[in-house]
C-alpha cells in the first residue's frame, strides 16, 4: 500500500478528466473557466510528482511558473467573460457562437 508515482498520476488523470468534463458540459462560461483551472492543476500535480520521484528541482520550478501563468490566464479570461456577459446579457457560452460557419 505504498504511495508511488502511479497513484499521483491517477489522481492527476482523474482531475484532468473531471476538468475536461466540466469544460465540455457546462453552459456557464465561468464554470468552463473552473474546468480550465482543474486541468491546469492536474498538469501541475504531474510536474510536482515527477519532481519528487527523481526528476530533480526543475519540475517544481516549472510548477511555480505554471501557477503564475494560471493567475495571468484567470485574470484575462475572467475579464473576457465579463465583457461577453456585458455584450450579450448572458453567461451562456453556447450563445457566444458568432464564429460558426
Amino acid at each position: 500500500m505504498t504511495v508511488g508515482l502511479p497513484q499521483y498520476l491517477v489522481v492527476s488523470g482523474v482531475l484532468l478528466a473531471l476538468g475536461l468534463f466540466t469544460i465540455v458540459t457546462r453552459k456557464n462560461a465561468v464554470a468552463i473557466l473552473m474546468g480550465v483551472e482543474l486541468v491546469l492543476n492536474a498538469g501541475l500535480l504531474n510536474l510536482v510528482a515527477f519532481s519528487r520521484f527523481g526528476g530533480g528541482l526543475d519540475g517544481q520550478v516549472f510548477a511555480l511558473f505554471g501557477i503564475v501563468l494560471a493567475a495571468a490566464e484567470a485574470v484575462v479570461a475572467l475579464a473576457i467573460v465579463l465583457q461577453v456577459v456585458r455584450a450579450q446579457r448572458s453567461v451562456d457560452a453556447s450563445k457566444a457562437s458568432d464564429l460558426k460557419e
Binding site: I23, R26, S97, D98, L99
Partner: protein, 772 residues
C-alpha cells in the same frame, strides 16, 4: 618588439560603448513619436545626446586604462560565442586596442557634438525623433565596426553604417531626388560590400586550406576552439579563426606567412587577391575611384548627417579597415601600390572637380573624397599611423566645415548656391571664424592641424620604398601635391564666395529667377557661362530642405547649440595636430608613439627610399608654399567678388577653356559614363539576351512544343474520357462531404474542446497500440 601574444585585459563595460546608442535608437524609434508629441523636442534629444555621451565617457575611461597598461595590452570584452559553425568560431566580442581606441574616441566625441548641433539645425523638423533614432543607430553600427574583434562583427557594423547612411540620405524621402540619392549610395556601397565579403571569404578559405606543415594535412579533427590555444604548434592548417589578432599572430610566424603568401589563384597571389577585394570594399565605403560617385549625391541628406557620416566617420571606415588589416596589406606590394595609386588619383581627380562647384556642400563633398584619397595614399605606402592621424584631424576640420556650411545654409534660408551668398562674415561671425580656421587646417597652413598630418602624408609618399611604380613614391608625391594645391584653392574659394563681399541672397530671396541675380556681375558671368554650357540652369541640385521659409531678411547667426559645437571643433582643427608633431623638429610625436605597437609587427616590411632630412625639410617648405599659393590665388580671384577674372575666364570664347571647364564642371561625365556603361549596358545586355531568348531558345522550345502537341492531342483524348471522369468524381465526393462536414463548424467552443480531447486520446491510443 614582438609580443608573442597580445595581452587581453578584461574591460567589462566595453560592450556599453556600442550598446548605449542602440538603446537610444530603439527608444526613440519606438517611443519617439509619442514622446515628441507629449513632451516636445527635449524628450527626444536628451536621451539621444546623453547616451552617445555616455559612450564617449566609457570610451575615454577604457582609453585611459589602456594608456596605463603596458604595451601590447588590449581592452577586451567577450560577450558570447556567436556562431560556432564547424571549425569557425565567431565571437561576439569587442576589442579596444590603441588603434580602435583612437577611432572610438573620435567617433563618440565628434558624434556627440554633432548630435548637439542637430538640436539646432533640425529644430523645425516634424520627424525630429526619426532623425535622432537614425543618428543613434548609426553610432551603434559605427562603434561595432570599430570595436568589433573579428571580421564578422566588423562586417555587421560595415553593413549597419551603410544602412544608416541610406536611411539618412533619403531622410526627406518625399523628395524624389533625395530618395534616389539614397538608393544610389546604397547600390554603390553594395558593390563595395560584395568585394569586402568576398575578400573575407577568400582569406578564411585560404587560411583554412593552407597546410601549416609540409607533411600532408591530417584529417580534420583537432581544430582548436579556444583562442587561448593559439600558439599550439603544428596544426593541420593555418587557422580557422576570423579574429583580427589571431590572424595577425599567425601571419607573424615567418614559416606560415610564407606558405600563404606563396599561394596562387589563377596566377594571382592569394594575398594580393584578398587585399584587392577588401580594397574594393574600402573604395565603396570610403568613396574612392571608381565607386566614389555616391558621396557627392549623398549631400542630399541633412547637413549634420553629411558632417557625421559622409565626412567624419563612416567614410573613413575604409581607411580604418586597411589600417586594421595592415598585416595583410603589407604582404602584397601589388595591393599596396594599387591602394596608394587609387588614393592619389582620387585625391587629384576630386580636387579638380571641387574647383568649379557652386553648391557649398558639393565642394565639401569633393573635398572629402579628395582627403580620403590622401588617407589611402598614406595606408598604401605603409604609413598607417599617419593615415589615422589625418583621419582624426580631418574628422575635426571637415566636421567643422560641414557644420559651418550647415549654419550658413540655415542662415541663408536653405540656399546652398554660393553665388547667392556672400558677406556673411559680418552677419555670422562665429561661423565665419571657425570656417576660416578649418579652411586653413585643410589647406595645410603651418601650425594648423591639417598641416602636420597632410605634410606627413606627402613626405611618406615621397619617401616610400614599397611602390612598384617607376619612380617610386615621387610620382605619388607629385600627384598629391597638386591635389593639395587644388584643395587650398577651392577651400578658400568657397570661403571667400560665402563670407566676403556683399550678401547676394536678398535679391534672390524675392524670387528664384535668373533676372533677380542679373544685376550682379558674377550672376551675369556665371549665368551666361551656363547658358553657353548647358542652355539650362545650373545642374547642381538645390537641396531645399522640406521646411524652407523664404523671407527677404538677412541671414542671422545660428543658435548657441550650433555655434558652440563649431567653436569646439574649430578649436580642435587648430590645435588637434599637436599630438603628432613632426619628429623632424626634434619634438615628441605622441601619436606615432601611441600607435607604434599596433603596427610594429609589419614595420619591417615598410621600407623607406632613403631620402634624408634635407629632402624632408624641403618638402615641408614646399607644402607651405602650396598651401599659401592656393590661398592667395583664391583670395585674389574671389575676395569680395570684385575680381573680374573668373567671370572673364568663364566667358572666354576659347574652346580649350570652355571644354575644360565643361568637362570638370560636369564631374568628368563619370555619372553619365556609368549611366551609359552600367545602367544602359545592363539594359542592352538584357535586350540582347531577350533577342537570344526569342530567336534561339524560343525556337527550340517551339520545336519541342510542336512535337509535344502531337503527343498532347493523343493524350488529351485519353484525358477527357478517363482521367477527367475520375477527377470529377473525386470533386463531387469532396463537395458532398464538405456540405455535410461544414455543419461541424458550429462555433460552440465546447464542442471543439470535446473533439480536441477525444482526438488527442485517439492519438495516444494509436501510439500505444503501435508501440505495443
Amino acid at each position: 618588439m614582438h609580443e608573442a601574444a597580445p595581452v587581453l585585459q578584461e574591460f567589462p563595460l566595453l560592450f556599453l560603448v556600442p550598446l548605449l546608442p542602440l538603446i537610444g535608437a530603439v527608444w526613440n524609434g519606438v517611443m519617439g513619436k509619442t514622446m515628441q508629441r507629449r513632451f516636445g523636442h527635449a524628450a527626444i534629444h536628451l536621451p539621444a545626446i546623453l547616451l552617445p555621451a555616455g559612450s564617449f565617457v566609457i570610451s575615454l575611461w577604457a582609453f585611459l586604462t589602456l594608456a596605463d597598461a603596458p604595451h601590447g595590452t588590449s581592452m577586451y570584452n567577450h560577450l558570447w560565442t556567436w556562431l560556432p559553425v564547424g571549425t569557425l568560431q565567431a565571437e561576439a566580442a569587442f576589442l579596444m586596442d590603441r588603434l580602435s581606441g583612437v577611432m572610438a574616441l573620435v567617433v563618440t566625441f565628434v558624434g556627440t557634438l554633432i548630435h548637439v548641433y542637430s538640436t539646432g539645425y533640425m529644430k523645425d523638423e516634424p520627424a525630429y525623433w526619426r532623425f535622432f533614432a537614425y543618428l543613434n543607430l548609426f553610432m551603434f553600427a559605427m562603434l561595432t565596426l570599430v570595436l568589433g574583434d573579428n571580421f564578422l562583427l566588423m562586417f555587421v557594423g560595415w553593413e549597419g553604417v551603410g544602412l544608416c547612411s541610406y536611411l539618412l540620405i533619403s531622410f526627406w524621402w518625399r523628395d524624389r531626388e533625395k530618395a534616389v540619392a539614397g538608393m544610389k549610395a546604397f547600390v554603390v556601397n553594395r558593390i563595395g560590400d560584395l568585394g569586402f565579403s568576398l575578400g573575407v571569404f577568400l582569406l578564411f578559405w585560404g587560411l583554412l586550406t593552407t597546410p601549416a606543415s609540409p607533411a600532408p594535412a591530417k584529417a580534420h579533427g583537432e581544430f582548436r576552439h579556444a583562442p587561448a590555444a593559439a600558439q599550439e604548434a603544428p596544426e593541420a592548417t593555418l587557422a580557422t579563426s576570423i579574429a583580427f589578432r589571431e590572424v595577425e599572430q599567425i601571419l607573424e610566424d615567418p614559416v606560415k606567412r610564407d606558405r600563404i603568401v606563396n599561394r596562387d589563384i589563377l596566377g594571382v597571389g592569394l594575398m594580393t587577391l584578398v587585399c584587392l577585394l577588401l580594397f574594393v570594399g574600402a573604395t565603396g565605403k570610403s568613396a574612392q575611384i571608381p565607386l566614389y560617385v555616391w558621396l557627392p549625391d549623398a549631400m542630399a541628406g541633412p547637413t549634420p548627417v553629411s558632417a557625421l557620416i559622409h565626412a567624419a566617420t563612416m567614410v573613413t571606415a575604409g581607411v580604418y579597415m586597411v589600417a586594421r588589416l595592415h598585416f595583410l596589406f603589407t604582404l602584397s606590394p601589388v595591393a599596396m601600390t594599387v591602394v596608394a595609386t587609387v588614393g592619389a588619383l582620387t585625391a587629384l581627380f576630386a580636387a579638380t572637380i571641387g574647383l568649379f562647384q557652386y553648391d557649398i556642400k558639393k565642394v565639401l563633398a569633393y573635398s572629402t573624397v579628395s582627403q580620403l584619397g590622401f588617407m589611402f595614399v598614406a595606408v598604401g605606402v605603409g604609413a598607417y599611423w599617419v593615415a589615422i592621424f589625418h583621419l582624426m584631424t580631418h574628422a575635426f576640420f571637415k566636421a567643422c566645415l560641414f557644420l559651418g556650411s550647415g549654419s550658413v545654409i540655415m542662415g541663408c534660408h536653405h540656399e546652398q548656391d554660393m553665388r547667392k551668398m556672400g558677406g556673411l562674415r559680418k552677419l555670422m561671425p562665429i561661423t565665419a571664424v571657425t570656417y576660416f580656421i578649418s579652411c586653413a587646417a585643410i589647406a595645410g597652413f603651418p601650425f594648423f592641424s591639417g598641416f602636420f598630418s597632410k605634410d606627413e602624408i606627402l613626405w611618406k609618399a615621397f619617401d616610400s620604398g614599397n611602390m612598384l611604380l617607376p619612380g617610386g613614391g615621387v610620382i605619388l608625391w607629385a600627384v598629391t601635391a597638386i591635389a593639395a594645391l587644388g584643395t587650398s584653392f577651392y577651400m578658400f574659394r568657397s570661403y571667400y564666395m560665402t563670407f566676403s563681399g556683399e550678401y547676394r541672397g536678398a535679391a534672390a530671396a524675392h524670387g528664384h529667377d535668373a533676372s533677380a541675380v542679373a544685376h550682379d556681375p558674377h550672376g551675369v558671368a556665371y549665368d551666361s557661362a551656363h547658358g553657353a554650357v548647358h542652355g539650362a540652369p545650373p545642374a547642381d541640385p538645390h537641396g531645399h530642405d522640406s521646411h524652407g521659409h523664404h523671407g527677404a531678411h538677412l541671414p542671422v547667426e545660428s543658435p548657441a547649440a550650433m555655434t558652440g559645437v563649431l567653436a569646439v571643433l574649430g578649436g580642435l582643427a587648430l590645435v588637434g595636430g599637436y599630438v603628432g608633431l613632426p619628429l623632424l623638429w626634434g619634438l615628441p610625436n605622441a601619436f606615432e608613439a601611441w600607435l607604434e605597437p599596433i603596427f610594429a609587427g609589419t614595420a619591417e616590411r615598410v621600407t623607406s627610399a632613403g631620402f634624408g632630412h634635407g629632402a624632408e625639410w624641403g618638402l615641408m617648405g614646399f607644402s607651405i608654399i602650396v598651401a599659401f599659393g592656393g590661398f592667395f590665388a583664391a583670395r585674389v580671384l574671389y575676395k569680395d567678388g570684385r575680381s573680374p577674372i573668373p567671370a572673364r575666364l568663364l566667358a572666354s570664347p576659347s574652346p580649350l577653356v570652355q571644354a575644360t571647364h565643361r568637362t570638370i564642371f560636369n564631374k568628368y561625365y563619370v555619372d553619365e559614363l556609368y549611366g551609359v556603361v552600367f545602367v544602359k549596358g545592363s539594359l542592352v545586355l538584357s535586350r540582347g539576351l531577350a533577342i537570344w531568348d526569342t530567336r534561339v531558345i524560343d525556337g527550340a522550345v517551339n520545336l519541342a512544343g510542336t512535337i509535344g502537341r502531337g503527343f498532347g492531342f493523343l493524350q488529351g483524348a485519353i484525358d477527357r474520357l478517363f482521367v477527367d471522369g475520375m477527377v470529377e468524381l473525386v470533386a463531387k465526393v469532396v463537395e458532398a462531404a464538405g456540405a455535410k462536414i461544414r455543419r461541424i463548424q458550429t462555433g460552440h467552443i465546447q464542442a471543439y474542446v470535446q473533439g480536441l480531447a477525444l482526438g488527442a486520446l485517439a492519438l495516444v491510443a494509436l501510439a500505444y497500440l503501435l508501440a505495443w
